[in-house]
C-alpha cells in the first residue's frame, strides 16, 4: 500500500465520519435550552427514586451497568500497570535517602492529611445529595495519603501504606459492587435494579435506595486503585534502579 493510497483511505474515512457527525449535529437539541428529551426523563426518574443528585441517579441507578464496566476498566488498567511496572530481574531496589523538608511544609502536610481524608469520605457519603460521589471522593482520599510523601519522604509513606491491604481492598470493592447487583437478581428483579431498599426521605443521607451503597463501593475501589497505581509509579521513580554494567 503506497502513500497515495493510504492518503485516499484516510480522506475517505474522514469524510464519512464528518458526514455522520454533521448529520447527528443537526438533530441535536439546541445549546443551553431548558428542555432536553433525555434530561427531562432522567430528572423525573431521579425524583421518583428520591435521589437529589440526578447525576448520581444516572450513574448508579439508571446506568449502573455502565458504571460497573467503567469500574472494571479502572481495575483492569491498574492491574496492567502493576504487571508492567514490576521490579524486573536486572533491577534492584535502592533505599531512598531521607528528604530534608522545611518544618512549615511538614506541619502543613500532617495537618491537612486528616482533613483531606475526611473531605474525601464526605464527598463519597454525599454522592446522592450534592456534587461528588465515589470516584471524586476516592481520588481525594487517595491523594491525601500521598501528602506524607510530599511532606516527609517515601519511607514515611510506606509505613502507613500496607500495599497488600489496598490491593485486597480494590478487589473486594469491585466484588461488593457485583454482589449488590446480584442481590437484586436474587430478589427477583434485574441485575443492579434499584428496587431492593426503601427510597427513604428526599435529600437525606439514606435516600436513593442502593445508590449510596454503590457509591461507597466505587469510592473504596477508586481510592485503593489510585494508591496501588501511585505506589508502582513511586517505586519506579524513587526506589528501583537498573543494574549498571550489564
Amino acid at each position: 500500500m503506497n502513500r497515495r493510497m493510504r492518503l485516499c483511505l484516510v480522506a475517505l474515512g474522514g469524510a464519512g465520519l464528518a458526514a455522520l457527525f454533521t448529520a447527528a449535529f443537526l438533530r441535536l437539541p439546541a445549546f443551553g435550552g431548558d428542555r432536553h428529551p433525555y434530561g427531562d426523563r432522567a430528572v423525573r426518574a431521579a425524583l421518583h427514586r428520591h435521589t437529589a443528585n440526578t447525576i448520581a441517579s444516572v450513574n448508579f441507578d439508571l446506568r449502573a451497568f455502565d458504571t460497573l464496566g467503567e469500574t472494571s476498566i479502572l481495575f483492569a488498567s491498574v492491574l496492567g500497570c502493576v504487571v508492567l511496572l514490576r521490579q524486573a530481574r536486572d533491577e534492584h531496589r535502592a533505599r531512598p535517602e531521607p528528604a530534608d523538608v522545611a518544618p512549615p511544609v511538614r506541619r502543613y502536610a500532617l495537618l491537612v492529611l486528616p482533613v483531606a481524608v475526611l473531605t474525601g469520605l464526605y464527598v463519597v457519603a454525599h454522592g446522592q445529595l450534592s456534587p461528588g460521589g465515589g470516584f471524586q471522593g476516592g481520588v481525594v482520599t487517595a491523594t491525601a495519603l500521598h501528602l506524607l510523601y510530599l511532606g516527609a519522604d517515601y519511607h514515611a509513606l510506606e509505613r502507613v501504606r500496607p500495599l497488600g491491604a489496598y490491593e485486597a481492598g480494590d478487589a473486594l470493592a469491585v466484588s461488593a459492587y457485583v454482589v449488590t447487583g446480584l442481590a437484586a437478581v436474587l430478589a427477583g428483579t434485574a441485575f443492579l435494579a434499584n428496587t431492593l431498599l426503601p427510597y427513604g426521605t428526599f435529600n437525606t443521607l439514606s435516600s436513593g435506595g442502593t445508590v449510596p451503597l454503590l457509591n461507597a463501593a466505587v469510592g473504596m475501589e477508586v481510592a485503593c486503585a489510585v494508591v496501588v497505581l501511585l505506589a508502582r509509579f513511586l517505586d519506579q521513580a524513587v526506589e528501583i534502579e537498573e543494574d549498571s554494567g550489564k
Binding site: A94, P96, E97, P98, A99, D100, V101, A102, P104, V105, Y108, A109, V112, V115, A116, T119, V123, L129, S130, P131, G132, Q136, V140, T143, A144, H146, L147, Y149, L150, G151, D153, Y154, V238
Partner: protein, 150 residues
C-alpha cells in the same frame, strides 16, 4: 447576570488570564509561581460562582480545590526541587496581592451568607485556600533542601 457573577468574571479574566500568561511563558520559577496563584484565583472564582448561582452545594468544588491545589504545587516543588533551587522564585508582591483577592472574596461571601454553619464551611475553605497557598509558595522558594532521590 448578577454582581457575584460579574465579580467572578473579573477575577477569572483578569487574575486567571494573567496567571495563564505567567504559566505559559518565561522561566521555570515564574511558571511555578503562576501555577500556585492560579489555584487561589480559581478557588476565589468558584466561591463567587457558587454564590452567584445561589447553589451552596457548589462550595464543595472550592473546598476540594482548596485542599488539592496546594498539594499539586507541593508536587512540583518536590519533584522540581533541583531546578527550582538553582533559580528560586521570588514573587512576594504577587502572592500577597492574590491572597488579598482571596481574603476579600471570602469576606464578601461570608457577609452575604450570614452567620451559621454555612459560614463556617466558607471560613474553613478560605483558611485552607490561603494557608495552603502561603505554605506552597514557601515550599517553592526552597522548602525542600537537598532532596536527592527521596
Amino acid at each position: 447576570m448578577n454582581g457575584w457573577l460579574l465579580a467572578a468574571a473579573v477575577v477569572l479574566t483578569g487574575g486567571l488570564g494573567a496567571a495563564l500568561w505567567g504559566v505559559a511563558t518565561g522561566p521555570l520559577r515564574r511558571r511555578a509561581v503562576a501555577q500556585n496563584l492560579a489555584t487561589v484565583l480559581a478557588g476565589s472564582g468558584l466561591l463567587l460562582l457558587a454564590q452567584g448561582y445561589d447553589r451552596p452545594s457548589y462550595l464543595d468544588l472550592a473546598l476540594v480545590l482548596a485542599l488539592l491545589g496546594p498539594v499539586g504545587t507541593l508536587v512540583f516543588a518536590r519533584l522540581l526541587a533541583d531546578d527550582l533551587a538553582a533559580d528560586p522564585p521570588r514573587a512576594r508582591a504577587a502572592t500577597w496581592a492574590t491572597v488579598g483577592v482571596a481574603a476579600a472574596t471570602v469576606a464578601a461571601v461570608c457577609a452575604a451568607t450570614g452567620p451559621g454553619r454555612a459560614m463556617g464551611k466558607l471560613l474553613v475553605t478560605g483558611a485552607l485556600l490561603i494557608g495552603g497557598n502561603l505554605i506552597a509558595s514557601r515550599a517553592l522558594s526552597g522548602g525542600f533542601g537537598g532532596v536527592r532521590g527521596g
